[in-house]
Symmetry: C2
Amino acid sequence: MSIGDVCHIPSPLARHNRGIFAAIVTPRNASNSVFTLEHSAADSRARAGVVHTAHGDIPTPVFMPVGTQGTVKAMEQRSLVELDARIILGNTYHLYLRPGTQVLTAMGGLHRMMGWQGALLTDSGGFQVFSLRELRTLREEGAEFRSHIDGSKHLFTPESVVDIQRAIGSDIFMVLDECTPWPAERSVAKTSMELTLRWAQRSRARHLEAPFMYGHHQAQFAIGQGSTYDDLRRECMDRLVDMDYEGYAIGGLSVGEPHQDMYRIVDVSTERMPRDKPRYLMGVGTPENILRCIALGVDMFDCVMPTRNARNGTIYTTRGRVNIKNAQYKFADEPLDDGLDNHASQNTSLAYLRHLFNAGEILGLMLATMQNVALYLWLARTARQRILEGTFTTWAEDTIQRLHAPRS
Amino acid sequence: MSIGDVCHIPSPLARHNRGIFAAIVTPRNASNSVFTLEHSAADSRARAGVVHTAHGDIPTPVFMPVGTQGTVKAMEQRSLVELDARIILGNTYHLYLRPGTQVLTAMGGLHRMMGWQGALLTDSGGFQVFSLRELRTLREEGAEFRSHIDGSKHLFTPESVVDIQRAIGSDIFMVLDECTPWPAERSVAKTSMELTLRWAQRSRARHLEAPFMYGHHQAQFAIGQGSTYDDLRRECMDRLVDMDYEGYAIGGLSVGEPHQDMYRIVDVSTERMPRDKPRYLMGVGTPENILRCIALGVDMFDCVMPTRNARNGTIYTTRGRVNIKNAQYKFADEPLDDGLDNHASQNTSLAYLRHLFNAGEILGLMLATMQNVALYLWLARTARQRILEGTFTTWAEDTIQRLHAPRS
C-alpha cells in the first residue's frame, strides 16, 4: 500500500471520528521526504521547517507533549487541540503492555482509539527497557524484559517493535536501540553502539517490507548513540544516515551526564545529521536545554518535564517559575500567565490554583498541566517565529533568564 | 443593599471575568420570591419551575453537581457550562478550612475565585460536622469541632455560618442544623429538632440583618429535621415555614435509613412545604431516588454519587450501568453513551475509558466524571420536559428500569 492510500475502518465510532483520516492525502515533496527546511538562522544553526505527516503538517522547532499510555496525563485531547499541539508522543513499551496490540488493532490504531486527529510519534521502548535494569537482558536477538506491571516475560526485537508501532499506527516511529548507560567506558559504549547499528539495519529492513496497517504513511527515525564520545557519536550518525531513514534522533542523553556534555554531543550530532531531514533530540529538557539545542540545529523535542512538574506544583510561566504550593500565592489574585493566550492561563488565578493543590484536587493537576504544556508549546512556536524573523539568539538568551528565574 | 444592586470589585482578574455579574439584574417576580412554579403534574406531585438567582435562572427539577472544595472533582468549570449545569454546590465546612474566609473575601467570593458564572449553593457544614462524630461537641451556642486536616479547634454558630456563606458569596445558603443520627429514639429526635429550630431562628435573624458582601442577592433555605418520625417532620417543617425562608430543604435523610422510610419522609415533608417556594432534598441519591422524589414534589437535588462513583469506575449511561474495569469492555468499540449529546459521551469509547482506568490515568477520572454528571443533568432536565409534556410517570418508571440495569 503506497503513501496516500486510505483504508477506512468501518465501525460504530467512525461517525464520531470524521476527519481523523482527512490529512492522509497531504501532498509530499517527494516519496521519502517528510521535511521541508524553510529557513536557517544566520547567527546560529537554528532552523525553521515543517515535518509532514499523514495527520498534518508540523511547523518546527516543535515540542511534543508526552502521552505515554495514550493520554497526555491529566489533559483532554481537545485541550491539546486548543493549545495547537500538532504532535504528541506515545510509548511503545507501555502501549504494548496496556492496552496491547490486539486491542489497538481492533480499535483501528491509537489515533482512533483516543480520538486524536493530530500526529503521533512513538518511542521504541528502548529507553524504558533500559530503565528496567534488573528486569531486562540484552542479547543479539533483542531485549528480554519483565513487565513492571505483572512481572511477565517479554522479548522486544527490532522487528517486533516495528510491528507494534504499525499496530499503534503512529505517524513517526523510532527504532529499537540500546540506550547506553552513563558513564560508560569507551569499549562498552562502542559495543553498545554496534548493537544499536545492527538493530537499526534490521528495523529499517522490517519497516520497508511491512505494509502500513491502517493505510496512512508511517515514517521511521533512527536513533544515534555513542555515549559522550564525540567520535563514536559521529560514526554512529554517519552509518545511520547511510541507511536512509526519514529522520534522525539523538538518544542516550539526559541520563545523568553534565549539561555541557549534552550540548557538545548535540553539536557533534547535528553536524552529521542531514539538512533535509528532521532532527529530534529525545527526552530533553528544560526551557533552557530546548532553546540551546534549537540553536544547535535540533527541530523536535519531547520531555515529561512540563507534565510531571505540573503535577508536583512546579509551574513554568512566561514571567518565571512558580512553586504553586508556596504561601506567597495565598492571596495572589492574578492570572497564572497573562503572557499566554489560552483559557487555563488567563482564567485561573494563582490563589485558586494554590488552593486546589493545597486541597489535593484533581483540577489543580489539570490546570497546572495545561499551563506547562501551553508554555512549552509557546516556547517552540515563538522560537520558530524568531528564527524566521532573524531575532532568535537575543530572544533566546532573554527568555532563558526570564523563564528560569522566580516569577516576577 | 437591595436585590439587583451590583457591586463591582475591581481587580487584575476582573477583565477575565466579564459576565460573572451579568446575571445579577435578572428580573424577579417579587422581592422575596426566588421561585416560579410553572406546571404541576396531573398524576403525581411532580412539578416544573424556575429558581431565580443572581447568577441565572435554574429550571427545575434540577440536579446540582457537588463541588465541595470549590471544584467539582476532576472537572473544569467550562465543562460544567458545556453540560448546561446552572448551579453547583460548595461546602461551608471545607471552604471555611481551605482556602478560608480571608482568602475568599480577598478574591471577591468563590464565584470569582473559581471563575464560575453560574449559581452556587452552599451547604451549611451541619452534615460535615455531624460526620466528624468523635471530633465534635454540640451545645446551645453552636457546634464545636476539630478540623479533619490539622485537628485545630473551631466553633460554628448559626450566625458564623451565615457570615462564612456571605464571604463565599453563594446564591443560596443553608442554615446550620443538627443532622440527627439514624436510628434515633423519638425523644432524641425531638430534642435535636428543637435545637435545629432554635438555630434556624438565629440563622434567619442574622441573614436578614447582614448586608450581602458582594452586592448580589443571596437566598437562605431552612432544613427540616425530625428523623423518621412523621409528626416531628411535619411539626418541624410547619415551624420553619412560619419563619418565611426563601426555600426549604429536607435534611437528615440518606443516613442509613431504608429507602421506604426516606420516600415516606419526603412525602410527609413536601406536603407541608409551600407550593411557591423551592424544595430541596439534600444528598439524594441514585437516579431511582431522584425520579421517585421528583414524583413526590421535590425540585432540587445534590449528591456526590455521580462524581464519586465515576472515580471508582461505575458509570451511569442512558443504556444502563457500566463497571468500566470489567473485561467485557476490553474491545468495546462504541461510544460511552450515544444517548447524551456531549463531547465526552460521544467521543470516548468504552474500550478507551477501560484502558485509562486500567492504566491508572487521570483522564479516565475526568471522562467518567463528565459522563456521570452529564447523565444526572440529563435526568433532571428530561424529567422537567416530561412533566411539562404530561408524560413524566411512565417515562420515570421506564427510565428507572433502564438506568439501573447493566448496560444493554
